[in-house]
């Protein structure tokens, strides 16, 4: 039963990584940049949901919508102000800007909410714990919601990119920006939409993360952000199913590593696995090998 318990926890944590990783992988796939501020958008989303619940007394679902809306706006504004002017610049310049944006958001949170950790209210996800096998396996409401949310988001995103006009435009931009532009696709607008979706998902991830791990502080998004980025690379950056798979595997490996090998080495094991996978398959589990243009 401990095994099952760990597995459920691993899938739950992995689902959070997967949702965050989607944000990284979509932005990378379409804008060809690593948005290192993504983890901090998660933190901002969690803070906004926290405020909506605690200070403005909004019901959980409304808080979720408020956080998603705020993060969507934040993502689009960050892209428009900080990244768009650098569209033709060297990728290193964009990377540094993203890192700067990450610190800017963290310090902004520090300024607004202070350094003291806040305890994220459990009332956000108001679903009772389920007991299975006569109480031996307990699945919390947060865990359940996290796993379901992950599945729903995965299905919705896959349908969006394969069926809708905007989704197809995103795939075109991802493959060949110039050719997409020749088709009449507004590349800047498509990149904006990508940031909007990624950031809205970041808000969801922030709320799910803090529902399972309730300590909320300005650096809350950093470590999960880095791990989710790892998950995206692990699964094959640019690939939506890859982000899902990478996230889930990473979560399960992390929990099992902590449970069976060493609590202290949990994170080290995660990154060791990443290194091994990348040595064997540099494009990640589901990544396509990069074709050099001639």
């Amino acid at each position: 039963m401990i095994f099952l318990d760990n597995l459920v926890n691993g899938i739950s944590l992995g689902s959070i990584y997967a949702i965050i990783a989607l944000g990284y992988t979509m932005v990378y796939g379409i804008a060809k940049m690593l948005n290192f501020a993504h983890g901090d958008v998660i933190m901002m989303g969690a803070y906004i949901a926290f405020c909506a619940l605690q200070y403005w007394n909004m019901p959980p679902l409304v808080s979720l919508v408020v956080a998603m809306a705020a993060c969507t706006v934040m993502g689009v504004v960050i892209e428009g102000l900080a990244y768009r002017p650098l569209r033709q610049a060297a990728s290193l310049a964009v990377l540094i800007t993203a890192i700067g944006m990450s610190y800017l958001l963290q310090n902004l949170a520090l300024m607004i909410w202070g350094a003291n950790p806040k305890s994220f209210p459990g009332s956000m996800i108001n679903i009772p714990t389920i007991s299975l096998f006569g109480g031996e396996l307990k699945i919390t409401g947060a865990t359940l919601v996290t796993i379901v949310a992950n599945i729903v988001i995965m299905i919705a995103l896959t349908a969006f990119t394969s069926k809708t006009k905007t989704g197809k435009a995103m795939r075109c931009v991802s493959e060949d920006r110039g050719a997409a532009s020749l088709m009449g696709i507004n590349v800047n607008q498509t990149i904006s939409i990508t940031f909007a979706i990624g950031s809205a998902l970041a808000a969801v991830a922030g709320i799910l993360l803090c529902s399972s791990y309730p300590t909320l502080q300005p650096t809350t998004g950093s470590m999960p952000g880095i791990k989710a980025f790892t998950a995206a690379v692990f699964g094959g950056i640019g690939s939506i199913p890859g982000a899902m798979l990478g996230g889930l595997l990473l979560g399960v490996i992390e929990i099992f590593g902590k449970a069976y090998i060493s609590t202290e080495l949990g994170d080290a094991i995660v990154f060791a696995v990443l290194i091994i996978v990348l040595l064997v398959k540099p494009s990640g589990l589901l990544g396509k090998p990069v074709r050099e243009k001639v």
Binding site: K168, C172, G178, L182, M183, G184
Partner: protein, 241 residues
């Protein structure tokens, strides 16, 4: 000739294009009239693709202007050119490799209302039966000739007023080159105005009405395609005889 009297469909006036410090296009002017096939021929690096990319707005001229149907479109954004009626079938085809043939065609009609796309797609399948056979196949798995047909069909999906073809024969076997050129002629007969850029001067001149010879960013010769085909200087430089 009488053609000089009316407003050309597409007119390029004295454009200069730079890549950083490199002066790639040094003031070229040319025009394409309704229902013509005009070809720009020249060696590798002469600036042919640069010219087409500048017309579509992927590159910006530093000086000079581009007129389409009498309107100045020099600063029009590249994604707006296709709804104006200028479609480019780019060098190296640049089809969406990871999408199906059908999806590629849909993307070609991106700016058109959904209702009109189905009809145009049927037209493409009639003109390019091979694409119909490969409809659900991932475009990256097509052969070079099929990819070129897909790229042309994709450009035609927008019902362009002028179709610009950038090196459609590149990398194709001679038999496929002939096939592509006969398609170009068919399109012309069906009333499509074409601006053709080619290194294969022989083929290009034999289908075109008029031609311009581009050398290191400047137009060095222009005129009737048949006359240029028999011009000694052109023969020597581009036709290998």
């Amino acid at each position: 000739m009488s053609e000089t009297k009316k407003t050309p469909l597409l007119e390029v006036k004295d454009i200069h294009v730079y890549y950083g410090a490199i002066h790639a296009i040094k003031g070229i002017s040319f025009h394409v009239n309704q229902d013509e096939i005009v070809t720009l021929i020249g060696a590798n690096g002469a600036g042919k693709s640069t010219t087409l990319n500048t017309i579509t707005g992927l590159l910006r001229p530093k000086h000079g202007s581009i007129y389409f149907q009498g309107e100045n479109v020099t600063t029009t954004l590249s994604h707006k050119m296709i709804s104006r009626g200028i479609a480019l079938c780019p060098e190296g085809r640049r089809i969406f490799q990871q999408m199906t043939v059908r999806e590629n065609l849909e993307m070609g009609g991106f700016t058109r209302p959904a209702g009109e796309i189905a009809e145009s797609m049927e037209e493409m399948f009639v003109r390019f039966p091979r694409l119909k056979e490969r409809e659900k196949q991932i475009a990256g798995t097509l052969s070079g000739g099929e990819q070129q047909m897909l790229a042309m069909a994709r450009a035609l999906m927008s019902k362009p007023k002028v179709l610009m073809l950038d090196e459609p024969s590149m990398g194709l076997a001679p038999i496929l080159v002939e096939q592509i050129f006969s398609i170009i002629q068919e399109l012309h007969e069906a009333g499509v105005t074409i601006l053709l850029v080619e290194q294969n001067a022989q083929m290009a001149l034999s289908v075109a009405n008029r031609a311009y010879v581009l050398e290191t960013g400047m137009i060095t010769m222009e005129g009737n395609a048949q006359e240029l085909l028999h011009n000694d200087a052109v023969k020597k430089a581009y036709l290998g005889s």
